[in-house]
Symmetry: C2
Subunit: 215 residues, 2 copies
DNA sequence: TAAAAATAGTTGCATTTGCAACTGACATGA
DNA sequence: TCATGTCAGTTGCAAATGCAACTATTTTTA
């Protein structure tokens, strides 16, 4: 519970004091559960587990806006200024989430928590990482064709692991929700890529055969 | 020069000390100039002016990955893990950019700058804002159709200003690079929307006539 | 272990979008 | 003031993608 990045370099005793200071609340969720009632100024930190931010729009399209792993953050602030359909936060696994009050976190602390500045430093690191992930997401979605979305996505996974042999961490059905394309169109494109010798693939296992320096 | 958000609540005397501490360098650029040679660990802060992060891919497509206004930040960290074409940083207006060393900013300061923690707090605010902007960008690009991309974009601008009468801050040609769609297809769609009475528009001036609660 | 649900895969057809190649309006600078 | 360039707007045609409706395979659950 204490082993979350936001409390790096802060002692256990201090942590308790601080959690009290900015009204931190830990809650547990089970796999498949939806996280509701997030207040506007509230920030969720994934202590353990994986959550997804999903949008269902009026045409019945499902979009995976974000997948958030351990130490990731989410909050009203970060999604949908616009009431574009429903946004749901769903636990992919059993999860523990810490909710904190964002204003208390960022403002000067009257109780003079001595480690408050360490906490903010940790928070900066977490938010920076989120920015990088979102930039990568923009990189993928900004690709003009389905094929280039796939290639950009495969390249990212491959870069992370250093292997040309990748396992997509989504079901292919969910991958299409992540790339914001039609599932059958995506599978058709993967088939074409297989036929052209660009990749090898069976279900979620994809081997990159194309020259990655070209993309 | 000192009137930038990263130095909020820090006195002028302190600022000089700190700038030295994390190797800050200010540089000026003229309209149209390209910002080159950004080192990997370096972070650019837009002190004044507007810059755009542009990607040119191998098919000749131009994509506006981000438009960054005053107090916004950019850096290698934030774009293209992948060598997908060329990424350029272009000054839309005369600009002043402060480059700082990211590691020095985030790590504990040996010189004991007393306001270092204020600086990190300010940085957190700037990075958080960037995250929110990127989330909005994902919101737009995740839309499945050209029309919905336009509507989501129009709604965002409209929400910012509180008016149904908006002026797009891009040339329509650049707007298509921002929405990652073909220019003529975009203009065709806008024409259709005009014919269907959803919007009124002349060049960059667009009036929203559709019911915004529906989208 | 049988039934149900989720996932993977395929294909024909309609629609959307991109591409190319124009026109006309306006601005800028030599 | 002529020329050059950028921007807005249009359209035919081709290509890419979405939609619908299937089958096959694997996984989950009762």
């Amino acid at each position: 519970m204490l082993d979350t990045r936001i409390f790096d370099n802060i002692t256990d005793g201090e942590i308790d004091k601080m959690k009290n200071c900015f009204k931190a609340v830990n809650r547990k969720y089970i796999e498949g559960e939806t996280i509701n009632n997030i207040e506007n100024g509230s920030l969720g930190i994934v202590v353990s587990g994986v959550v997804e931010i999903i949008r269902f729009d009026f045409d019945g399209n499902r979009t995976i806006l974000e997948r958030i792993n351990e130490n990731g953050i989410f909050g009203r602030l970060f999604f949908s200024q616009i009431d574009e359909g429903d946004v749901e936060i769903i636990c992919l696994t059993d999860c523990e989430i810490m909710f904190i009050d964002y204003d208390h976190l960022t403002k000067q602390c009257h109780n003079a928590c001595s480690h408050h500045s360490t906490l903010i430093r940790n928070m900066l690191s977490i938010v920076s990482e989120k920015s990088i992930k979102l930039s990568n997401r923009v990189e993928i979605l900004s690709q003009r064709t389905l094929r280039k979305k796939l290639i950009t996505y495969f390249n990212m996974i491959s870069k992370e692991t250093g292997k040309k042999n990748i396992v997509v961490p989504f079901s292919l059905s969910n991958l299409s929700d992540y790339l914001c394309v039609d599932r059958s169109a995506m599978l058709r494109e993967m088939k074409k890529m297989r036929e052209e010798g660009l990749i090898d693939s069976h279900a979620k296992k994809v081997t990159i055969l194309y020259d990655q320096t070209m993309f």
